[in-house]
Amino acid sequence: MDLLLQVLINGILQGGLYAIVALGLALVWGVLNIVNLSHGAFIMLGAYISWYSFHWLGVDPFLGLPITAVLMFLVGYAIQRGILNLIVRSPMFNTLLITFGLEVVLTYLAQLVFSADFRTINPSYSGRNMTVLGITIPLVRLAACVMAIVLTLIMWYFLLHTRLGRAIRATAQNLSAARLYGVEPRHLYAVTFGLGLALAGAAGGLYGTVSQINPYIGATLTAKSFAIAIIGGLDTPLGVIAGGLILGLIESLTTLYIGPTFADVASFGVLVLVLIIRPTGLLGRTA
């Protein structure tokens, strides 16, 4: 019983982190209809920015999240304005291709600049645990999970209740009508992609505190983000939290009852099942 409870807690902690891993992807997909295959690679970049600010400048990884996010926002704004805006209206799989091209560029650049070594961000408190009712909770994982959920909620509030958030949602619904109301789509697209990458950057910083980083972590993170975004639905950040928690729980339960090598079968199996049964996500509106 204790073991099951421990596994459930682990799943939830992992799931909270998964939510922010997928949030930027879901935002960019839901608003811009760009399926960003390079999302995981940008998370990797965020993790490295966080690693360097911790090891070179001594910035605490949690306090340094805003720096990472702002830098990544600028990167995202520039990429959307300079490259992606040029192909918005070309055939659908061209956006898949171009973001895959970006993924390749980023991965090889990272390999050249950062080398292929594994790195970890380990502040002095990284080994500490908290014990509640016989269940061990690693503090860093708890902090990462809470931070992820807080950021997701901030995003949700931003999209629903701010002027810019409403403009972004309006553009998602009807580009030409939004233009008539004085929204400048080129700028707004760039802001949205920038926000997506800011979230990817924050996700990378948090990911770096609980896992090892190397230039190749991107592909798996992209695949997981797809699973989370689809299971939860693209309409609301709350769906992404749910998707993250579901994936975290599925993975830890499969690992406990069937074996660690089946965790991926289970999570992607659920993804395919959800797609087939309910393509708009478990919490998404029906098509």
């Binding site: 997909w29 209809n33 399926v35 490259i83 805006n85 040029l86 192909i87 918005v88 209206r89 070309s90 055939p91 659908m92 799989f93 061209n94 898949l96 291709l97 171009i98 895959f100 091209g101 970006l102 993924e103 390749v104 560029v105 980023l106 991965t107 090889y108 650049l109 390999q111 050249l112 580009l175 789509p185 080129r186 697209y189 592909a219 695949a223 797809f226 699973a227 689809i230 074996g259 090598t261 089946f262 991926d264 079968v265 992607f268 199996g269 993804l271 395919v272 797609l275 087939i276 393509p279």
Partner: protein, 315 residues
């Protein structure tokens, strides 16, 4: 004009078939991998280019073909040809079982469902003892690059003839109708589910055969490389670069891109990879409809062609 084109194709084909006579070992090996990539591209062209379903699951067919040969030859000591048939059977069964539910999805959702299928297959195979689990299978070596080269060439010719047949058959017109307007195709009396599943299976057969040849050629097989997603992306890039929905576009695309990446990888590999990524990004921006479209329209528009593309596709 038409006769000229056929003669030209026959000359190129003869030159390709005779390549082992005058090419060095390195050239022949480069030839095998390029021809197999071209077969995969041509297979993807059927489902992605003609039917308009951007499949990220074609590498599953490739992996099943490779494992068909691997299991038959290593575990059951059967000849290569039986392994090829076994691989094709696996691919067709897969296409029919998963094609029906997955081909109901559209656009990005279809792409991601097929992408997940590859991950699932890799994870399943790495748990199956018959397939050698994570360790993989080591096939009996056969040092006959010439044979592998000619087999790959024959397979590419077969795939290309099939695609050429598509452009003039009722079946092929049905697929194009689905790509252009699926609801319209239903109204016109096209049995879209049957057409889509058949196209998926047809693409799968060629990909599986390519996987089988590749497995026997490199004599080693493991889940990670057999179900590699990058391979799937490569086929898409080659088709889109050359021209999706054309007979020769995918071949031209894979020959050019293979040559570029081969030339570059003789330098530092990470710089080669970097450059490959940049080529993809630039090609998608400047020629989003592939080389075939450049050839069709460049002589009329000149360099304005590229600027025109950006003008029509940007916001």
């Amino acid at each position: 004009m038409k006769a000229l084109r056929i003669i030209l194709i026959l000359i190129v084909l003869a030159a390709l078939a005779l390549l082992p006579e005058y090419g060095s070992d390195t050239v022949i090996q480069f030839g095998i991998s390029t021809l197999l990539l071209a077969v995969l591209a041509q297979g993807w062209n059927i489902i992605g280019g003609y039917t308009g379903y951007p499949s990220f699951g074609n590498s599953v067919f490739y992996g099943l073909g490779a494992y068909g040969v691997g299991i038959a030859m290593v575990q059951w000591q059967l000849p290569f040809a039986v392994g090829m048939i076994f691989g094709v059977v696996l691919a067709v069964v897969f296409a029919f079982l998963l094609g029906v539910p997955v081909l109901r999805l559209k656009g990005h959702y279809f792409a991601i469902a097929t992408l997940a299928l590859g991950q699932i297959m890799a994870a399943i195979v790495s748990n199956v003892p018959l397939a050698g689990q994570n360790i993989g299978l080591v096939l009996p070596p056969l040092n006959d690059d010439r044979l592998f080269y000619e087999l790959s060439l024959i397979l590419l010719v077969a795939a290309t003839l099939t695609v050429w047949w598509l452009t003039r058959s009722r079946f092929g017109f049905g697929l194009i109708a689905i790509r252009e307007n699926e609801e319209g195709a239903v109204v016109m009396g096209v049995d879209t589910t049957r057409y889509k599943v058949l196209a998926f299976a047809l693409a799968g057969i060629f990909s599986a055969l390519a996987g089988g040849i590749h497995a026997y050629w490199i004599t080693f097989l493991d889940p990670e490389s057999a179900f590699d997603l990058t391979l799937n992306v490569k086929m898409i890039i080659m088709v889109v670069f050359g021209g999706p929905g054309t007979v020769l576009g995918p071949i031209v695309g894979s020959f050019i891109l293979s040559a570029i990446s081969e030339l570059l990888s003789s330098e530092v590999t990470s710089i080669a990879g970097l450059f490959f990524g940049i080529v993809i990004v630039v090609a998608v921006v400047l020629m989003p409809r592939g080389l075939a479209d450049v050839i069709r329209r460049f002589h009329r528009l000149g360099w304005h062609y590229f600027i025109d593309n950006i003008r029509t596709n940007r916001i």
